[in-house]
């Protein structure tokens, strides 16, 4: 099977990228993803369950993530939960998207989008 081109999946929506990032270091179940995204963005991005699972469905279909099975979460009342993990392709896509964003940021700097005030504060 020929390798899928990660660039064809770009650009990702911010929510999609956040979900992929939350799975980068470990596999997680849905609620953990929501919590992780909220924590990492300081509460800026709050995913609803409907939104999350619409994304999960699409990411599963696109082969960016897969299920790693059903098992209890000891921290969550030991109820059985379905865990998801990033696939190699999903990782490629996330990396490609981050590179794309870096590129965008570089271009923004080149055209001095941030102006002096911005530079003073960052310097």
């Amino acid at each position: 099977m020929p390798a899928k081109d990660a660039n064809r999946e770009l650009p990702l929506t911010p929510a999609t990228l956040h979900v992929l990032l939350s799975l980068a270091d470990s596999e997680k179940h849905g609620y953990a993803i929501i919590q992780e995204v909220a924590a990492r963005t300081g509460g800026e991005v709050q995913l609803g369950a409907g939104t999350l699972y619409a994304l999960v469905k699409r990411l599963l279909e696109g082969g960016l993530i897969d299920e790693s099975g059903d098992r209890p979460d000891p921290s969550m009342d030991d109820e059985r939960r379905r865990y998801y993990r990033l696939t190699a392709f999903g990782r490629d896509v996330a990396i490609a998207e981050v590179k794309r964003l870096e590129d965008v940021v570089r271009q923004a700097r080149a055209v001095r989008l941030f102006g002096r005030g911005m530079r003073r504060r960052t310097s």
């Binding site: 849905g30 609620y31 609803g48 369950a49 999350l52 619409a54 999960v56 969550m76 939960r81």
Partner: protein
């Protein structure tokens, strides 16, 4: 046991907003997330925020998921149909034919009959009639109209209408216009407003006020190019100058309240100043009334009845036949009354055609479901739920219905080219037939309905597939007994529907055909007719007879003309002059109603109406001679039991002191049309009954229209200014008189044929499929010694059972339908058992062919080849 956590039930309910596939894959996960968030909310405010956020989230994401699902289903369904084009095309065409036939009929009926009339609150508008001795509706006289207006409390208002012919001069060649005299309050009563200028007001109804005329939109556009500058200018009608007051809106129509009222009117004039007579016994007004807000038609009819009694008491000398009765019928009912039988017949057959189409497609889908059992079972075992598979099948059905429906709508539109047929031109609002929202909505509804109907059988089948999954049945075997039963049931229903449809169609067609072959009582071929109206003031009534005599003399001298005459009303033109006569030797008996016609001497000879007894009129029957009349055989029988009418005396109710001697009896004529019974008729010599407007009837030796020019020229040699109108062969009138029943029979016949063809396809499909499924069984039977003939008999027996049962159900249904039709349509009533025999025969023959072809194929199976392949 686990305790239910707080909010769990509501959370579960919320997940139902997602499509099944999402619920199946992630429903539990979603609930778990919600449950965790719900449990984490400590205060009431937090919980409220959770619920609002969860709900917003679902409402934002679920619709898109549904749409995605639908798109996927549609894509899958499309692919499925593309992979089996034979099935797809057959199903789509079947639906298109069924839906198209239904939509086409609806399109026609909606424009002509069903669409509300363009009046304010049209359901409260009715027609008021006087009731004749036989219970038939007849017109009102001017004083009666006034009485009803003054005495009724249930009517908001009542307005009279009378059709007139007016001659337009001063605008090119003189020509005759269709006019109507109407009470000033007609337009306000209907809630119609002028599109330019004004309509009539109370002042227009008064004698002595300036003459006003209101134009129809059509006349305004054709005559004046739609210029509003003509408002206020003059128009010369019947040698008098009228002021153009205004123009009616284009949408305005007055549905002809009876056959004598024209469908299209050019100019409208105030009634009061155009009344031919104010006599209480001269009944020639149609009346339109509006109910008061709280009154019903039933109450109004009861009140009008009692007004009739009062009026009869107050003017008893004017009602020698006893009390007059008045009646009111809602305009819609009145309009539908005449066409309801044909309508009912066509609606029946259309419903049957649609039913057969549904059964056919259901049968097709069922066969397809059978051959897809394996696919379904595999999908089910891979985790597709029953609901998911049902949804897929329903999407397929919906897709078929949508494509078929759209195609059907196109077919219906194409079929509407028939509205330009000349025979239909006299139907009201026929020019408004076309696509509209109502038609599209109707078609969508019918398509949806059919989708539900024909997708039902496969959906039922689905429960079996679910069982297959449970029992792990994956092999493809012979058709299951249950599917075979459903298939047979569908075929039986189709045969029943087809039998009923064909019999009803045949009943209508045979009824009309019989009417066509009946003698009209005269010889219509090779007769040219034209109307000669005398302009007011051109010649005094005393000179009418001489004028027509001279015209006839001139015409008779033309080469190729064998006979010429004139008559006041042509047969089958719809024009009647109802009157009453009393026999001198039976003064106590009630007067006899008869149609009165004035004729010139050679009328019976020209028309080919046979003289049964006595003599025809001759030159001696002039205004100085003895008053004479000729009656038809029907009236002769009514006047005296022995039919010996010649020599008897009768009196016309309008001139009771003048005795009229009957000098001859002629064959009865179907004056009202071929499908109607003859009307009793009294003929008077025109010299004793002079009329300014008569129809010339000329018998020629060839195609009548070839003489149009020379006959008109002969008329103009007598009077160059004489108007010649409505030139037509008599046979055209005869044809027109059966146009409506004929159209009904034609449409019914076409639909019946369609029903038969679709049933043939359905029955063939069923047996072809059954034979294909039973190849193995047949092969084994043949291998163990069955003969090919035995195989054919086996299948034929099966077919015979279906046809027998179908006929046993369909024929009684048809019988009831035919009885109903017969009670409404006299021409259909006496068709007897012919349609049933022919209809059953047709269905049997068609079914035999449809089942015979597969049977033959089955008998030719090579057992060795089939069994080796297995």
């Amino acid at each position: 046991m686990k305790r239910r956590r707080p909010g769990a039930r509501r959370l579960r309910a919320l997940t139902w907003l997602f499509p099944g596939s999402v619920r199946e894959a992630h429903g539990r996960d979603i609930r778990q997330v919600w449950q965790a968030q719900h449990d984490a909310a400590s205060s009431t405010a937090d919980r409220a925020r959770f619920w609002s956020e969860a709900l917003t989230d679902v409402l934002r994401t679920a619709p898109r998921q549904h749409l995605d699902e639908l798109r996927r289903d549609l894509r899958y369904a499309f692919r499925g149909l593309r992979l089996s084009p034979g099935f797809a095309i057959t199903a789509v065409l079947t639906i298109a034919l069924g839906v198209g036939a239904t939509s086409g009929v609806f399109m026609l009926l909606d424009a002509v009959l069903l669409r509300p009339l363009p009046y304010r609150n049209p359901s409260r508008v009715g027609l008021v009639w006087a009731v004749g001795p036989g219970g038939e509706h007849t017109w009102l006289s001017a004083p009666e109209l006034d009485d009803l207006g003054a005495r009724s409390t249930t009517l908001e208002g009542i307005a009279g209408l009378s059709d007139l012919r007016m001659i337009l001069t001063g605008a090119g060649d003189p020509r005759e216009l269709q006019a109507a005299g109407v009470s000033a309050m007609l337009f306000p009563l209907l809630g119609v407003e002028a599109q330019a200028g004004r309509l009539f007001g109370p002042a227009d109804d008064r004698e002595g006020s300036g003459l006003a005329v209101v134009l129809s939109d059509r006349f305004w556009r054709t005559q004046f190019g739609g210029r509003s500058a003509v408002i206020g200018t003059g128009l010369t009608l019947n040698d008098r100058t009228y002021t153009i007051a205004g123009v009616l809106p284009a949408s305005f129509t007055i549905l002809p309240p009876s056959s004598v009222f024209p469908a299209h009117v050019d100019v409208w004039v105030p009634l009061q100043t155009h009344l031919a007579s104010r006599g209480r016994d001269v009944r020639m007004l149609h009346a339109v009334a509006r109910l008061r807000p709280n009154a019903t038609f039933r109450e109004a009819a009861a009140e009008l009845s009692s007004v009739g009694l009062q009026v009869s008491r107050d003017f008893s000398s004017s009602y020698p036949n006893g009390a007059v009765r008045f009646d009111i019928v809602s305009m819609r009912d009145d309009v539908l009354k005449g066409v309801r039988p044909a309508l009912a017949g066509i609606a029946c057959v259309v419903a049957l055609v649609l039913g057969i189409a549904c059964a056919n497609v259901a049968s097709l889908l069922l066969a397809r479901a059978e051959s897809r059992r394996r696919e379904m079972a595999i999908r089910a075992s891979l985790g597709a739920s029953r609901a998911r598979l049902a949804r897929q099948l329903l999407t397929e059905g919906g897709l078929l219905a949508a494509i078929g429906g759209a195609l059907g709508l196109g077919l219906a539109g194409a079929a509407m080219t028939i509205t330009s047929l000349p025979v239909l031109s006299h139907l009201p609002r026929i020019d408004q037939v076309g696509y509209g929202w109502r038609v599209v909505q109707f078609t969508a509804l019918v398509s949806l309905g059919t989708a539900v109907l024909f997708a039902l059988a496969p959906a039922l089948e689905l429960s079996r597939h679910a069982e297959d999954r449970r029992t792990g049945v994956l092999q493809q075997g012979a058709r299951g007994p249950r599917a075979a039963r459903v298939g047979r049931l569908l075929a039986t229903i189709e045969v029943a529907l087809a039998a009923a449809g064909v019999v009803v169609a045949l009943t209508m067609a045979l009824g009309v055909a019989r009417a066509l072959t009946r003698s009209p009582g005269f010889e219509p071929s090779q007769v040219l007719t034209m109307r000669l109206s005398t302009m007011p003031g051109v010649r005094p009534p005393a000179e009418f007879p001489t004028f027509f005599d001279r015209v006839i003399e001139e015409v008779r001298a033309l080469p190729g003309v064998t006979s010429a005459s004139a008559v006041t009303q042509l047969p089958m033109s719809g024009a009647m002059l109802g009157s009453s006569f009393r026999a001198d030797d039976r003064p106590d008996a009630a007067p006899v109603d008869a149609d009165l016609r004035g004729i010139t001497t050679d009328y019976f000879q020209t028309m080919g109406i046979a003289l049964i007894a006595g003599r025809a009129f001759d030159a001696g029957d002039d205004e100085r001679g003895r008053r004479v009349a000729i009656v038809d055989e029907g009236l002769a029988r009514r006047l005296s039991l022995d039919g010996q009418a010649v020599g008897r005396r009768i009196r016309w109710i309008r001139q009771p002191d003048v005795p009229i001697e009957i000098v001859g009896v002629v064959r009865a004529v179907r004056h009202r049309g071929l499908d109607q019974e003859p009307v009793e008729t009294v003929y008077r010599p025109h010299a004793q009954y002079p009329r300014g407007s008569m129809y010339l009837t000329v018998r020629v030796a060839g195609e009548p229209t070839a003489w149009s020019g020379s006959v008109a020229a002969a008329v103009h040699r007598v009077d160059p200014s004489q108007l010649v109108a409505d030139v037509a062969p008599l046979s055209a009138l005869e044809r027109r008189s059966i146009a409506q029943p004929g159209l009904g029979a034609l449409v019914g016949g076409l639909l019946g044929t369609l029903a038969l063809v679709m049933t043939a396809v359905g029955v063939y499909g069923l047996f072809a499929f059954a034979v294909a499924q039973r190849r193995r069984e047949m092969a084994i039977r043949l291998a163990v010694g069955a003969t090919p003939g035995g195989i054919v008999r086996l299948i034929a027996r099966d077919g015979a059972r279906i046809v027998g049962l179908g006929l046993a159900i369909g024929l009684p249904v048809a019988f009831v339908a035919a009885q109903l039709l017969g009670s409404l349509m006299p021409a259909v009533a006496a068709t007897g058992q012919g349609p049933f025999l022919y209809g059953a025969g047709l269905v049997i023959v068609v079914a035999a062919i449809a089942c015979g072809v597969p049977a033959r194929r089955a008998s030719r199976i090579e057992p060795n080849a089939v069994l080796r392949a297995e």
